[in-house]
């Protein structure tokens, strides 16, 4: 049963985060790029003020899969690195924590470029 509720909360919270972004796009004409930047920054902020972890406990992938999770992961990585190596950790922690996702995107992106070719958009 706990898997069911995990999935339900992930669905509701993840869906709600997408709806907020959709409303921002449709009603304020914020460009998608600005929205993604906002989400990442908000994620770092939530991590910094200690709200990200409780949210993650509640919604799991509902907050970690949206880009807020990317920011939350960066904040957590920075905090751990500062504990470990002091001020230097402020520089090393973020990229370390984000390394998996970023490298995956680069590697798969490069492979996709090698293996496929661009197609026309269709109406």
């Amino acid at each position: 049963m706990s898997l069911f509720f995990d999935c339900l909360f992930a669905f509701l919270v993840g869906g709600a985060l997408c709806v907020i972004a959709q409303l921002l796009i449709d009603l304020t004409r914020l460009t998608p790029a600005r929205i993604l930047v906002t989400y990442v920054s908000v994620g770092v902020l939530l991590g910094a003020v200690g709200l990200y972890e409780p949210l993650y406990e509640f919604a799991g992938c509902g907050v970690s899969v949206p880009l807020i999770g990317f920011g939350g992961t960066i904040a957590r990585g920075v905090r751990a690195a500062v504990h470990e190596s002091g001020l230097l950790g402020a520089l090393t922690g973020g990229l370390q924590a984000a390394a998996g996702g970023t490298a995956a995107a680069i590697v798969f992106g490069y492979l996709a470029a090698l293996l496929s070719k661009s197609r026309p958009k269709r109406l």
């Binding site: 796009i25 998608p32 661009s118 197609r119 026309p120 958009k121 269709r122 109406l123």
Partner: protein
């Protein structure tokens, strides 16, 4: 003195060619185009070269229709939507013809007709002149918007750059489809900076040109069988009619917009309509010129509409400057 130019010697359009991509072929005018390519690639390996091939194909089709070799042409006016007009130079360089590259954004086709008419009517050395303009959706998306595979939504006022090209060949002559008068557009800054609403950016220029034309010529829209606009789309067309209304001008059912005609809004998710310099070029060559040849239309006013901007100017929040040159055509015995 005036803005409307009447050529001293009459100039006629003696041949035409049009080529389009898959979505344009699927539209309401599909069967009328001379050529279409389902893949949109026109045999090229990049979208930029594909647009060049589109122009080359349109010129070849026009030459074939007149059963002439390209060597009979003395001058070529051509333009497209790409940076530095590389589609035109890339696609047409192999003909080895004297060439004048034009940039008027989506207004380039009528800009070309205007230049060709002025050149032929004033220079006896020229006997035949060609005008070629093209646009390619994939090349335009890449240059002006986002990568083709990027997933995003478009706003309802956004327009769709047509994958299309058109070519007309002109010579001095008194019979057939003749150019009657031409008028250059003025650069009009309507204060619109939203690239997803080109219709609104171009409508003030369109209104400016039509008001100048009708007030200087003393004519009314009903003097023409069709008042054809390039690519105002549904949004821009509605705005144009609002802008003309206070001046007592109504285009009514004489108004035809090529961007609206090119796609079927019920079947194709085109939003406000088609755009691009191939839009009015291909629709003129496939629809309006044949109608005139068959004498189903005797007099038409062609007004192309261009949005002058670049990706940098848009990102810097600069206003989009509109321009709308006019050429009137009439059938003479």
């Amino acid at each position: 003195m005036g803005h409307i130019l009447k050529p001293r010697e009459r100039v006629r359009i003696f041949s035409r060619g049009s080529a389009v991509g898959h979505d344009e072929y699927r539209g309401p005018l599909g069967g009328l185009f001379d050529f279409h390519d389902k893949t949109d690639r026109f045999g090229a390996d990049t979208w930029e070269k594909a647009e060049g091939e589109l122009g080359r194909t349109a010129l070849n089709l026009a030459l074939n229709r007149a059963k002439l070799s390209h060597t009979v042409l003395d001058l070529l006016f051509a333009g497209d939507l790409q940076n530095q007009c590389v589609a035109s130079s890339g696609g047409l360089s192999s003909f080895g013809l004297p060439y004048v590259g034009l940039y008027g954004a989506c207004s380039t086709f009528v800009e070309g007709l205007l230049c060709a008419t002025m050149a032929l009517s004033s220079c006896r050395e020229l006997s035949r002149v060609g005008v070629v303009t093209t646009s390619h959706n994939c090349a335009a998306e890449r240059q002006f918007r986002l990568p083709l595979e990027y997933g995003g939504q478009r706003t309802p006022t956004a327009q769709w750059t047509a994958t299309a090209g058109g070519c007309v060949l002109l010579e001095r002559g008194e019979s057939g489809v003749c150019v009657d008068r031409v008028m250059a557009g003025r650069m009009v800054d309507g204060g619109i900076s939203d690239a997803a609403n080109m219709g609104a950016a171009m409508a003030p220029a369109a209104a400016d040109s039509l008001l100048r034309f009708f007030s200087e010529s003393g004519e009314v829209p009903t003097d023409y069988d069709a008042v054809v606009t390039g690519d105002l789309g549904r949004e821009g067309s509605a705005i144009l009619s609002d802008l003309l209304a206070p001046h007592g001008i109504s285009l009514g059912d004489r108004h035809r917009d090529c961007g609206v005609m090119l796609y079927d809004p019920d079947r194709q998710d085109v939003h406000a309509g088609g755009s691009g310099c191939g839009c009015i070029a291909s629709v003129s060559c496939a629809y309006f010129l044949p109608k005139m040849e068959k004498k189903e239309m005797k007099r038409i006013l062609l007004m192309a509409t261009g949005a002058l901007m670049s990706p940098s100017s848009i990102q810097q929040g600069g206003a989009i400057i509109g321009i709308a040159p006019i050429v009137t055509l009439e059938v003479r015995e």
